[in-house]
Each structure stands twice: as structure tokens, then as C-alpha cells.
């Protein structure tokens, strides 16, 4: 016992067994990554061009995750609450964009003035997602504010399934294909990286929106109010900030970003169904945790990192380890990333705001 305790021990020397296990996992993960990468890179199975393609795919995928992750991260930053239904907020926007696209694709606008339908899609997607997010907050979450953490969380699970199957009931269970946009067909080259135009669109717009959002939260008065509410609701209230409105606003912004992500999704993947939101939702949450939840630039970095991990690591690590058909396991890799991050660096890459909150 005595040797366990050192004078000035910074970290509690706890659970030797558990710590041993965690160390084992740590070493195994590191070995797997190094050995797998080494084997893959030396085998020359993929050309440098193919590696670069994977990176581009990861970047654009990650940009979509990052936009959705913003909703998780902002709501979490303010309420310490994981909005499990946020993936469905994203899905509703995507679905709305589909119906706009479907209606307008039969008109001349689609071929002549494609910017107008695209803007309409974006607008409707943003509007729908915002509305759904705000309604969710008002109907399901607000009455539960201040309750034990798991109660609103279970409500959010219920809301997630309700939204999925309400949309299945209202709009059918089939997978809906977006009409192609001629403008976005083709590729561009930058520094030897080949980008599809849609990928450029996704990465560019995601960057732009996140820049705006960051500026909004850091520079404007409303942004200050949001940060004040995140810091301490009671004090913010005393300072004359309308806490309910500010929280609704946070949900609205998260919803708007998810709607925008929905639009970009439609151009990138071209498909939507009532299930579209679930997996990207969970992955976006992973991205938010990866970057440090509650942290806006963190969401961005987390999204990109997760996108890259998902697209590159099956080919880089898993194939190197001799695992067949590794691309099937990209979701496994994403979930493992979540588990590993939470074990090794639970505050995320950039650090969680208010890290002492996590008990």
C-alpha cells in the first residue's frame, strides 16, 4: 500500500487492473497501427494517386460530419446534453431538399439556371432542419431541463426514432435519388490531388460556414450571450439574458448547420431515405468528441480527422494487417476511434470546454 502513494502524486493511482488493461489496449492499438501501415505502404498495393484520392474522400466526408457535429457541440456546450436526435434533424433537411429538387428538376430552371434550384434546396433544407430542431427543443427537451442527465437523453432517443419513422410514414421508406446537377460534374486538380467538383463544393462551403459561425459566436453580442449561458445559466439570467431564447437559438443554429450539411450531402451522395440521419449522426457525435465537445473549431477538426480515419485507415492499417475486404469495416473503425478517444483522451484533440464537468 505504502509504495502506491508518493508524496505529491498528481494522478490518483487507481485500479491497477483496469489501468493494466487500458495500457494493453493502448500498446496493441499502437502496434496495429504501425505494423499495418508499414506493411501497406511497403507492399505498394495502392499508387500514390489512389492514396491521395482516399484523402480527398476523407476530407469531403469529414466536412459533412463537421457541419453536423457543430449542432452536437453547441448544444452540448450550452446544456451538457447530447441531442441524440440531431442526426434526424440533418435527415429532415436532406429530405426536404430532395422534394424541392424533385419538383424543380422537371422545370427548365434545372438546366438553365441551376443556381436558383440549388439555392432553393439549400434554403428549404436549412429552414426545415432549423424548424425541426427548435420544435424538438420546445416540445421534448425544454420541459426536462434540470432533470437528471439521462432523462432528456432517453427522450432524445425517443425523438430520434419518432422522427425517423414519422418520415418513413409520411414520405415512404424507399431510397430517394437526387437528380444530378450538370454543373457539378467533372473533376479539378490541385497539387496532384484530384477533387470531384462536388467534393470541392462540400469542403469549400463547410469551411465558409464554419468560419461564419465561429465569427458569430466570438464577435457578436448574441454570440456573447450564448457563451454566457454556456458558462452559467443562472448568472446569465441575472445579467438580463433571455436564457430560453438563447438556448432555442443554439438549437436553431445547430439545426441550420445540419440543414446545410443535408444540402451538401445531397450533392455529394445523391441519396436520402429516412435512415440517412442515424449513422452520420452518431459519427458526427464521434467527431465532436474527437475534437473536444463544446468546442467549435474542435468539431471541425474532429470531423476532418474522423473522415480521414474512416477513408484511409481500412486501406492503410487493416489491409496491412491482412484483413480481407477491409472497406466493410469502415464503420467499425469509426466506432473504435470513438472508444479509443474516450479511453485515451476524453477531452478530445482541442480539449473540452469545462472539462471538470465530466465526473
Amino acid at each position: 500500500m505504502a509504495q502506491l502513494a508518493r508524496v505529491g502524486a498528481r494522478r490518483a493511482v487507481q485500479l491497477p487492473l483496469l489501468d493494466g488493461f487500458v495500457w494493453l489496449v493502448r500498446v496493441a492499438a499502437l502496434l496495429a497501427v504501425v505494423w499495418g501501415s508499414y506493411r501497406s505502404l511497403t507492399s505498394g498495393r495502392l499508387t500514390p494517386g489512389q492514396w491521395r484520392d482516399l484523402v480527398v474522400i476523407g476530407l469531403s466526408q469529414g466536412a459533412v460530419y463537421a457541419l453536423i457535429a457543430l449542432g452536437y457541440t453547441m448544444v452540448y456546450g450550452v446544456l451538457r446534453f447530447i441531442n441524440f436526435a440531431h442526426g434526424e434533424v440533418f435527415m429532415t433537411g436532406t429530405m426536404a431538399a430532395f422534394f424541392v429538387a424533385d419538383a424543380l428538376s422537371r422545370t427548365g430552371l434545372w438546366t438553365d439556371q441551376v443556381w436558383i434550384p440549388l439555392l432553393a434546396m439549400l434554403g428549404v433544407a436549412v429552414l426545415t432542419s432549423t424548424l425541426v430542431a427548435v420544435l424538438l427543443e420546445r416540445v421534448a427537451y425544454r420541459p426536462l431541463r434540470g432533470k437528471p442527465r439521462l432523462i432528456p437523453f432517453i427522450t432524445a432517443i425517443g425523438a430520434s426514432f419518432f422522427l425517423q419513422y414519422a418520415f418513413a410514414g409520411l414520405f415512404g421508406v424507399d431510397v430517394k435519388n437526387f437528380p444530378p446537377v450538370a454543373l457539378f460534374e467533372g473533376k479539378l486538380d490541385f497539387f496532384g490531388f484530384r477533387f470531384l467538383k462536388t467534393q470541392l463544393l462540400v469542403i469549400g462551403s463547410a469551411l465558409l460556414m464554419m468560419g461564419f459561425l465561429y465569427a458569430f459566436v466570438e464577435k457578436t453580442k448574441t454570440g456573447k450571450a450564448i457563451r454566457a449561458v454556456a458558462e452559467d445559466q443562472e448568472i446569465a439570467r441575472l445579467m438580463g439574458i433571455d436564457v430560453d431564447r438563447t438556448i432555442a437559438l443554439v438549437f436553431a443554429i445547430g439545426g441550420a448547420m445540419a440543414g446545410a450539411a443535408g444540402f451538401l450531402w445531397s450533392q455529394h451522395f445523391g441519396q436520402v431515405s429516412f435512415r440517412t440521419g442515424f449513422l452520420p449522426g452518431i459519427k458526427a457525435f464521434t467527431a465532436a468528441v474527437l475534437g473536444g465537445i463544446g468546442n467549435i473549431p474542435g468539431a471541425m477538426i474532429g470531423g476532418v480527422v474522423l473522415g480521414l480515419v474512416e477513408s484511409v485507415s481500412p486501406s492503410l492499417i487493416l489491409i496491412g494487417l491482412g484483413i480481407p475486404a477491409a472497406h466493410q469495416l469502415k464503420d467499425v473503425v469509426a466506432f473504435l476511434a470513438l472508444v479509443l478517444v474516450l479511453i485515451f483522451r476524453p477531452m478530445g484533440i482541442l480539449g473540452e470546454r469545462l472539462a471538470e464537468e465530466r465526473a
Partner: protein, 259 residues
């Protein structure tokens, strides 16, 4: 002989020094009170001793060996039990169950014996129950009888405080840490609890370290008083000694004047 020894203990909270190179000790069989203005670091001290937060520097020794780095449950099984400033019970559990939980560290029955209901399990369960009821009986008729099966939330505030103390006592501690045991009690209840604190030492042989704001309690039962301010020990001695200490008066009155 010192039961608890604190040497050079320091704890920072993001730049704020809650405990600042604190040295103190509690001898076997003593009743010691920790006082100090709000924010002096008293509860932090308790959290450090019970292992709920790790110290930045310094050492805490219990019966001569360091307990820094041990888990709270390990520290409890060594013999340090505590109560909380803002009573923290298990609200949905009954009064008896609340106390029975504290016997966890003193019992061994595992999942298998619980499933098989072995004779040893039954014996241990009956013993746990008896010990819990015994601890509750320490407070007279207040927590016994039909109260055993009431949930903790249904108790009055004073009874919740008593239940919390009973829970701590049931774990067979050597050292009992009480965090403002009389807060929220009326004068009569305070008086009664003051007597009980003495009784815990005399009858149960417990050593007691307690935080208190009510000076009548401190005066009534503490044999030695330690005064904290800004995480430092500014005075130590009998109640009368510290009550006339310049620094102590300044810490209390000076603060009050500016507040």
C-alpha cells in the same frame, strides 16, 4: 498518537489555491473542529482526505501510512468515513438500505453467494441489517421502526442529516469527518447533536474532525480548533485561544466589513 497527519497539503483549482501548504494532525480520540470563513477550503480539505479529489502536493497519512492516491472506497475501508455539507443520501433507497450500503466495505458476499442464498450469505445479510439498525438507533427513536422502510427523500431535513451520520458510523470508521453537521437544524436539534458528537467519541470510541459554522457547537464539543483562511492554517488551539486570536477576528470580521 496522531491518527491523521496532513503534511504540506496543497490543492489548486485552475489558479485558485484552495489549500495552501497545510499541516495539521488529529490524535486518536480527539474531537477537532475546522472553522473558517466561506471559501476557506474546509470542504476541499475533506475531499482531499477522503480521496475524492487528488492533491497537487503534500501528503496525507492515516495511522502512519500515506493514503494519497487511494480510491475513496479504499480510504473508507481503512477507517475514514464522512458526511457531506449538502446532505448526499441515496434518495430512492430506504433509510435502512442507505445505511446498509456503508457496510459494503466490511462485508464480502459476492454475486454467486447472493444467487445461491448460501448460509454464509444469509448470516452476513442479517448481520448487515442488524448493524445498520444499530447505527440508526444511535439517534434514539427518530430513525427506527417504521422509518426503516421509508425512502430517504421522505425524511425531514434534520433527519436526513442524522441518517447521513448514521450511514458514516455504520462503516466502523476510526475517524469520522462531519461537514457542517448542524447546518439547517433548529437550536434544539443543534444542541442535541452537539451532545451526540461527544457521545460518539465516549461510547463508540470515534475520533472526530468536523467543520462547523455554529460557534456554540464548536465551543460546546471541540477540544481543539483549527482555523483556515484562504487555504492556510491561521490559528490553532482551544476555542478560547482562537476566539481571541487577532488574525482570526480579522479573518472573520475583516471579511464581513468588506462584504
Amino acid at each position: 498518537m496522531a491518527l491523521l497527519e496532513v503534511v504540506g497539503l496543497t490543492k489548486d483549482f485552475g489558479g485558485v489555491r484552495a489549500i495552501d501548504h497545510l499541516d495539521m494532525h488529529v490524535d486518536v480520540g480527539e474531537i477537532v473542529s475546522v472553522i473558517g470563513p466561506n471559501g476557506a477550503g474546509k470542504t476541499t480539505l475533506f475531499n482531499l482526505i477522503t480521496g475524492m479529489i487528488p492533491p497537487d502536493e503534500g501528503d496525507i497519512r492515516f495511522e502512519g501510512r500515506s493514503i494519497v492516491g487511494l480510491r475513496p472506497s479504499q480510504i473508507l475501508s481503512l477507517g475514514i468515513a464522512r458526511t457531506f455539507q449538502n446532505v448526499r443520501l441515496f434518495p430512492e433507497m430506504t433509510v435502512r438500505e442507505n445505511v446498509m450500503v456503508a457496510r459494503h466495505a466490511r462485508t464480502r458476499a459476492g454475486v454467486v453467494s447472493a444467487l445461491l442464498r448460501t448460509p454464509r450469505f444469509r448470516r452476513e445479510e442479517a448481520e448487515t441489517r442488524r448493524r445498520a439498525e444499530e447505527a440508526l438507533a444511535f439517534f434514539g427513536p427518530r430513525l427506527v421502526g417504521y422509518r426503516f422502510d421509508q425512502t430517504a427523500v421522505s425524511l425531514s431535513y434534520a433527519n436526513r442529516r442524522r441518517l447521513e451520520i448514521a450511514r458514516a458510523m455504520a462503516s466502523d470508521p476510526k475517524l469520522l469527518l462531519l461537514d457542517e453537521p448542524t447546518a439547517g437544524m433548529n437550536p434544539r436539534e443543534t444542541q442535541e447533536l452537539t451532545e451526540l458528537i461527544g457521545k460518539m467519541r465516549d461510547e463508540k470510541g470515534l475520533t472526530i474532525l468536523f467543520i462547523e459554522h455554529d460557534m456554540r457547537v464548536v465551543k460546546g464539543v471541540a477540544e481543539r480548533v483549527i482555523v483556515l483562511d484562504y487555504g492556510r492554517k491561521i490559528a490553532e488551539g482551544t476555542y478560547d485561544e482562537v476566539a481571541h486570536n487577532e488574525q482570526v477576528i480579522e479573518a472573520y470580521l475583516g471579511r464581513r466589513a468588506t462584504a
